[in-house]
């Protein structure tokens, strides 16, 4: 039973591997401003084209153009920029702290900051977020104290998750940010349930959920799409197509044959494909989908076309499976650079201000981190109470756990 030479199994292969020169020349990237903006209650059947084009607002000259331009105020633009900068500086710092052994693990969102930050801004605070592990920008945009985020990552005595979760698996109830699961995709259909309950309760809040493009292969993606469609749930179903899933490129999720946005078509919901590195495009698409959901128009699927500029996590070395300079040649640029240039272009920002802001953020992050360490790190200093490890398995501790706790002597 030797494989024949004639027919070969199709196993997807990325465009380049380490040692090869990365290029994306044939990527089909529509011009900014080219896509029209349909009415928010447009019939999904009339929206097939949106799944195959790309909504883009920022053009090559750093101008915001076209119908999707959300016309944000300079203040809002500056908030967006600043929050993306905080996210990146925070990420870098935490990754460094992991490298020196202060915590067990870390995952950055470098290159994808626009997705989380612009979406958080476009949604209402009352809207519920069911993210994956790579949307820390949501927390930052919603104003979570960096100290709390750090305390969680350090699993220290200030960790609201009581030391039970890996770093970056945040929970923040006050900010309507769900508990991140280590199991990929599980939140996708849960978000639909939350949204259905919101309708049932007669409330106005909607839900938004995120998975990576690799995770679309999991059953939860399909369940989320199906249940959202059937109950016309007010929910945003986001696929962050950052091209990579650990070492596997998006072809292993089916991305070579069709856009992820076009998955929406078969479920009868709009699928928007957005330049995920274009803050304004992400913001505008999210606003459109949120308004649609709030008006009873049901779910929208959004594919954010972006690029994971860093490694998958601190356990990963991307140089093993893709050219080291692939991130640099990514044709859609860097979301922070692009928004910065736009603000400068419209006369509302400058290189100096940018430098200064970066410095201020770095100082803030350093200060916060110092404070966080005073609550302990994974290997030294204060921790949550050991006895707390037996709590919250159930609302009330059953006898078997009480006995086990006694056995441990805590």
């Amino acid at each position: 039973m030797v494989p024949s030479s004639g027919k070969n199994l199709n196993v997807p292969t990325p465009r380049h591997r380490p040692g090869e020169e990365p290029e994306f020349d044939d990527l089909d990237i529509p011009n900014a401003g080219a896509a029209p903006r349909p009415d928010i209650l447009t019939d999904p059947k009339e929206m097939f084209a949106y799944a195959n084009t790309m909504i883009r607002v920022l053009d090559m000259k750093n101008k915001a153009v076209g119908e999707w331009n959300p016309c944000l105020s300079p203040d809002d633009l500056r908030k967006g920029l600043t929050d993306m900068m905080i996210t990146r500086i925070y990420d870098d710092r935490m990754q460094n702290m992991q490298r020196v052994g202060k915590m067990s693990f870390y995952m950055k969102s470098r290159g994808e900051e626009a997705v989380a930050v612009a979406q958080a801004m476009a949604l209402d605070k009352k809207d519920m977020l069911f993210p994956s592990y790579r949307q820390q920008g949501l927390l930052i945009s919603r104003g979570r104290d960096l100290l709390d985020m750090m305390n969680h990552c350090l699993s220290n005595s200030g960790d609201n998750c009581k030391g039970r979760q890996l770093p970056i698996m945040y929970t923040w109830k006050e900010g309507n940010f769900f508990s991140i699961s280590g199991n990929l995709g599980t939140q996708f259909c849960q978000a639909v349930g939350w949204a259905v309950a919101s309708v049932y309760k007669g409330e106005d809040a909607i839900a938004s959920t995120w998975v990576g493009e690799g995770t679309t292969a999991e059953s939860d993606f399909h369940h989320g799409m199906t249940f959202a469609a059937v109950y016309n749930a007010p929910v945003l179903l986001n696929v962050v197509n950052n091209q990579w899933a650990i070492s596997s490129f998006q072809g292993f999720a089916g991305g070579e044959r069709a856009t992820f946005a076009s998955r929406g078509i078969g479920y009868g919901m709009p699928g928007l494909r957005v330049d995920g590195n274009d803050f304004l495009a992400v913001y505008a698409a999210t606003k459109w989908a949120a308004e649609r959901a709030r008006c009873g128009g049901g779910p929208t699927m959004i594919e954010h076309f972006t690029y994971r500029a860093g490694g998958h996590s601190t356990s990963d070395d991307p140089a093993k499976y893709r050219p080291e300079d692939e991130p640099e040649v990514w044709p859609l640029g860097d979301p922070i650079e692009r928004l910065k240039n736009h603000l400068i272009e419209i006369g509302e920002w400058s290189d100096e201000r940018h430098e200064q802001t970066a410095k201020d953020i770095t100082a803030l992050v350093t200060k916060k981190y110092k404070e966080a360490e005073s609550y302990g790190t994974l290997n030294s200093g204060a921790r949550p109470e050991v006895s707390s490890m037996f709590e919250d398995v159930f609302k009330e501790m059953p006898d078997n756990l009480r006995r086990q706790r006694q056995q441990l002597g805590v």
């Binding site: 259909c189 849960q190 059953s219 399909h222």
Partner: protein, 337 residues
Amino acid sequence: MTKMNMVQAINSAQDVMLERDSSVVVFGEDVGYFGGVFNCTEGLQKKYGIQRVFDTPIAEGGIIALAIGMGVNEMRPVTEIQFSDYIYPAFDQIVSEASRLRYRSGGEYWAPITIRTPCGGGIRGGQTHSQSPEGIFTHVSGVKTAMPSNPYDAKGLLISAIEDDDPTIFFEPKRLYNGPFFGDPKAQSQSWDSHVKGDVPEGHYTVPIGKAETVRAGSDLTIVTYGTMVHVSLAAAELSGHDVEVIDLRTLTPLDIDHIASSVCRTGRCVIVHEATKTGGFGAEILSQIQETCFWKLESPIVRVAGWDIPYPHAFEWEYFPGQGRVLDAIKKVMEG
């Protein structure tokens, strides 16, 4: 008090809770207009509307995910998995999500969901309509598991499960829906009418989660069992010629080991009976805890009576089913041993 069979009792529990608590909703495959393939939700959609009692797509994983999301948003979903043989596609959502949410979020989030699911054989359902998978879930931290053996307990336990703020899997031995079953398929079938546990209050009451019940007192030997096997064990006890005590667990986890242990330490002899396959079944845990607690009082080895370690074969249902004969053999062995 009314006479109810188990289907009616389960229906009534949901009815009572839909009435009392507007955060309760009921959903699953065919549970809405149709009222469920076993009629356990019959009439509820008509009474409470399509917003509160509704059908779902055929996707057990999606059903439980939907329930979790609703639970996080302050609702109290009661879901049906049409047969417990079909709970496996929901395994990840139950184990990794519903059961872990409160813990992993430091207590900030939880999902007070109830999963009703018919289990067990004896209805000629073949290997995919007869399984008793409870032993898979009793190993999972963070989810409670219950299996009633009669209408009164079914209603009271189900109300407790719905009111409970933790996820609960509520196994319904489908062979008992219409009457107690003593293990002999050829015998005249009985109804719940003449059974004391067929007397069921119409309104709200609870049977507490985590409490076993002694359904027959005795001093020679203790049978620990649950679900359909309660009745089979009672019948065997009657025939055995020994003074056999029978304990109906009702809740599997958390296990009421104190209740069990105080009986076994008294009788010194024990038989554990369940319909599920033997190896790795919940009987092993019961046996282990008894051994750990009552070792010095044991007068002979504890014996497990269970389904064979094979899928439930359609044509050999009654050879698979651990009937009175196998329970009697075990009693004999333990009394002699």
